[in-house]
Symmetry: C2
Subunit: 240 residues, 2 copies
């Protein structure tokens, strides 16, 4: 009988180097809000999304690609960019057929690390596109790393809960032995029916609530409202 | 009203650098088995315990201090050392009045990092001495870092559960806002009544079970059977 591929969860980008990911697909998870917004833009017809780490790169890449540029700090659009990081800013009526260049802190950092460590494949995931992510992972039959983007490398619960939600759906297809996956699955099982209440206790919810982003965050934890698979190749995210 | 001191939980030594610990007491947690064994030795009358990171240091320090030397790899006593890392090896009849030099991997590394980052104070904790740890932390009224030693920097559940157990007891005395503390407290609340069953699902239990160390591990998760406070100063752990 063929051994099932492995699945590991890493709780911070700062721990990715502990794993050999050359034979793994890495799922970049940044629920609040990068990978939710990426799902929104691609689901609503964006041609591609280009994640970049610096504001300067965002501006110059935006010009080169004649693209929409996006980035926020402290709840405000960054000077020199056009839009923010909210999924609500990218309805089909606006983003269809366009390229989005987006600068985020945590999510982009993890994509870069996964690229540097030569992951076999990189996709992004959040609750709005959870089914697309799970279907892809099961179909690929390769090892999986569920990579939580965390917050400045500090553990966060929203990414962990998403990892747990994925594990719950696909655990039968993988060999799962790490404590972080066990914990993530248990935390999700504990809160799957009160996610919207429990999430209000997390540090990131409180941080973003100060900028009145509650509706954004509710969207980010809603399953399957942006059924799309963002596949990362050569610096670009496109519908897989 | 005076602000309560803060309490944070770090899930891996690899994340300690994210925190300014110069005003904090760091609790080194290595439930399986370093900080459990340290509690056993000091509770049973060892004069001091000297944790060192290498086997060579263990041997030379053992000679200098005329001490008992201890260290294991893969369930066997390391060549050149006298004893293993099991708490059961240090009953009062053997260890009273003696110095123990012990080499461990995960726990020692975290002690070293906390020292390098100039923690205000360092103590060690595990279930056997949980009350002594909690009483000390409440009495000190200083900021606290609950530092999980993890396994080769990878998240583990036994250390997290201990952090959660501490948080449950002393949460009213601290300001606790980080998601890792929230998670640890929830995982402990979920399993405090079936700890001995749940712990069998963890990676470390499975790893050490291969060396028939189940009785050791049961001891390590038993509360308050070694009521002692191991206080670390200038490289030495002594009864506080």
């Amino acid at each position: 009988m063929r051994t099932k591929p492995s699945l590991h969860t890493i709780l911070s980008p700062g721990l990715l180097h502990l794993y050999d990911i050359t034979n793994s697909i890495v799922v970049i998870i940044d629920v609040f809000r990068a990978t939710s917004t990426i799902a929104a833009a691609l689901f609503h017809g964006a041609t591609k999304v280009v994640p970049v780490s610096s504001v300067a790169d965002c501006i110059s890449m935006g010009k080169t690609l004649n693209a929409v540029t996006a980035g926020e700090r402290d709840g405000k659009i960054i000077e020199g960019l056009q839009h923010g990081n909210s999924p609500s800013e990218y309805p089909r009526s606006f983003i269809e057929g366009k390229t989005l260049v987006i600068t985020t802190t945590n999510g982009t950092r993890l994509i870069q690390l996964a690229t540097d460590q030569k992951a076999t494949g990189i996709i992004t995931g959040s609750f709005p596109n959870i089914s697309a992510v799970c279907e892809y992972l099961v179909r690929q039959k390769k090892n999986v790393i569920l990579g939580c983007s965390a917050w400045k490398d500090r553990f966060n619960l929203e990414d962990t809960l998403f990892a747990g939600a994925v594990i719950k759906r696909i655990r039968e297809n993988f060999t799962i032995e790490c404590d972080s996956s066990l914990m993530a699955a248990e935390m999700y099982a504990l809160h799957q029916h009160d996610l919207s209440t429990f999430i209000r206790k997390t540090a990131h919810w409180k941080r973003l609530s100060a900028y009145n982003l509650q509706a954004d965050m509710e969207w980010c934890i809603t399953e399957d409202i942006a059924h799309v698979l963002p596949l990362y190749t050569n610096g670009i995210l496109q519908k897989g």
